[in-house]
């Protein structure tokens, strides 16, 4: 099969299919992942083709899902867990933080937990409470977990296959508002990059915009708009939140001298805080301006009719770009 124009949902679905075909130990488990194909249809058709034993509709209990996935992994399986929405991972948080993240160290390396936890995350889809959370910092803050987030269908496809193949637990954050974006994916081709490598999504020399998942698209649009004002903005798609590819960031910021980090999560104690600190440490003498951050506010994610105010948009990114350039 040659390259196809896939939505992110289809790209993920195809990645699951390839992984299930490649390794009989790979399992998919979660709420409504079977006959329904998941509420976003990411597992559509898998139940029909791989059956009950491998595509597992679980009882409605996230701690149970996560804990039994760990048990299955101990027994040699490679579970891909689906958490239905970001806001529902918290019942599983104990299992993720106290067990999934630490068991390898506890066992002095004798135990591997090659589990992928897929979570649709972020806002912008007009949903009710608990369906728009950006909780990446909780996971990235936890040693023992790897955390990644694709921004487009091609990365979604390849990064999911790489995450499933990884022997470490990977929290795989899917930007749900980009689920229906299209991209040309060739499942028979080669992965475009290593799982934990950042990617320069648009080159530029005046300032580096750093984003991941849902905000990459907004940053690319901002760079486009800034170009009309004569500013050449570089956009780095982080792709991996733990580990972070600081070498790529450092090279970029040393060239541009300015950096703005953008995410949906609240700025306070968010990924941007760590990125700003590290960039400052590594690029201090190249910086022309402090590293600025654009993100959600320090408030619960609001009702959908005001979410556009909460979410960073083109204007807010450009506002930060202007402030950084004016320094």
């Amino acid at each position: 099969m040659a390259a196809e124009n896939y939505s992110m949902v289809k790209a993920l679905n195809e990645a699951l299919r390839r992984s299930l075909e490649a390794d009989p130990k790979t399992l998919v488990m979660g709420e409504d992942v079977g006959r329904l194909g998941g509420v976003f249809r990411v597992t559509d058709g898998l139940h029909k083709d791989f059956g009950d034993a491998r595509i597992i509709d679980t009882p409605l209990a996230e701690s149970g899902i996560m804990g039994t996935a760990i048990g299955l992994a101990l027994r040699g399986y490679r579970p891909v867990v689906e958490i239905q929405f970001d806001g529902f991972v918290y019942p599983a948080f104990d299992q993720i933080v106290t067990q999934l993240a630490k068991m390898h160290a506890r066992a002095l390396g004798h135990v591997k937990l090659p589990i992928t936890v897929r979570i649709p995350f972020g806002g912008g889809i007009g949903a009710v409470e608990h369906h728009s959370e950006s909780h990446e910092a909780y996971f990235a803050h936890t040693a023992g977990l790897k955390v990644v987030s694709p921004s487009n269908p091609v990365d979604a496809h390849w990064m999911l296959r790489q995450a499933i193949a990884s022997d470490d637990p990977v929290i795989f954050l899917e930007p749900k508002r980009r689920y229906w974006d299209k991209g040309v994916v060739d499942p028979l081709g080669e992965a475009p990059a290593a799982l934990h490598a950042a990617r320069v999504a648009r080159p530029g020399r005046d300032l580096t915009l750093i984003a991941y998942g849902p905000m990459v698209k907004v940053c690319l649009e901002a760079a486009e708009a800034a170009a009309e004002d004569g500013h050449q903005i570089e956009v780095v798609d982080l792709r991996s939140l733990s580990p972070v590819d600081f070498d790529t960031l450092e090279a970029s910021v040393k060239r541009t001298g300015r950096a703005v980090v953008v995410h949906e999560a609240p700025v306070f104690m968010g990924m941007g805080s760590e990125l700003a600190a590290r960039i400052t440490e590594r690029c201090f003498y190249s910086l022309e301006a402090p590293v600025l951050r654009v993100g959600g506010y320090f408030a619960p994610y609001p009702p959908s009719r005001v979410e556009e105010t909460y979410l960073p948009d083109l204007d807010r990114v450009l506002d930060a770009v202007d402030r950084a350039l004016a320094f």
């Binding site: 409504d32 009710v128 009702p303 556009e308 105010t309 909460y310």
Partner: protein
Amino acid sequence: MTVESTAGAATAAVPELVQLLTPEGERVEHPRFSLETTPEELRSIYRDLVLVRRFDGEATALQRQGELGLWASLLGQEAAQVGSGRAQRPGDWAFPTYREHGVAWCKGVDPLNLLGMFRGVNHGGWDPYEKNFQLYTIVIGSQTLHATGYAMGITKDGTDDAVVAYFGDGASSQGDVNEAFTFASVYNAPVVFFCQNNQWAISEPTERQTRVPLYQRAAGFGFPGVRVDGNDVLACLAVTRWALERARNGEGPTLIEAFTYRMGAHTTSDDPTRYRIADELEEWKLKDPIERVKAYLVREEWADQEFFDAVDAESEQLARRVREGVRNMPDPDPTSIFENVYAEGHALVDEERAQYVEYAASFDGSEEVGEGR
């Protein structure tokens, strides 16, 4: 005290289903649960059922018209909710999921209050103390622990109020729900666990959650469990009253499994044709919770056509009020994001509010905030 959920009952081939009104509208007696009703009370029950269904139907329509972002319909579950709702006294508290529109109605909550979160103008927003009706809870099972804790507080205060905790068949798998059972049992809390087994948790049938009838779970926790015909409003009323009396009398928690059916989609976002067969729906249509009350009223000549017409007219009026109310619900002010984050305020919230206000003002006279997106 009889405990249904003993080992004996657990092995029974057909679990007992408490019923006082058959699907055909025949009044039957049950050896343990009796109910005295006046014709007037029955007419009032019928009215509740019809109005609640009409409200629910209007909300579904409003979602289709784009006025609501989402709606979780209670279609088919009117009897379970009106029966258990009417069993409560004003001092009793209800802890709902997101589907308890019929309970809200019985507690006197204005239906318009329920629609704000589905329209996306708030996350609930009503004052739970006003009608003793807690906010809707979306995270499955959480509220059962809150209900139990609230009931523990009632015990400490020494009043004879009680609590009803609502949850679904799917929720019965959650750790929180099982922890609520444990706490309620250990502290003998005055709480009634009211599980609406509507046979589905989105696409998963009840067999995916349990191998025993859900009411039998109570035995393991040390309190009684009863399965009631969830489409029989009289049985739901009688059994919930009984359980609430037990709670008031210091006899502790009860699990009620209201055996019913989700006649619609899980929510307006769901497509049930992907996972369930139409036959099932047809079968349950014959057990409609409203039709049987109507048949009973007609048979006993306790209501005439004039009464039914009047209820229909009232339901249309309600629908109109809801429709207009929703359409006129204003969008929240953007700065509302920063309100009520803390009871005592927080410096960072204040700082970010000020930043936002200044930022928004920078667009004055040029373009709208957010227009560039």
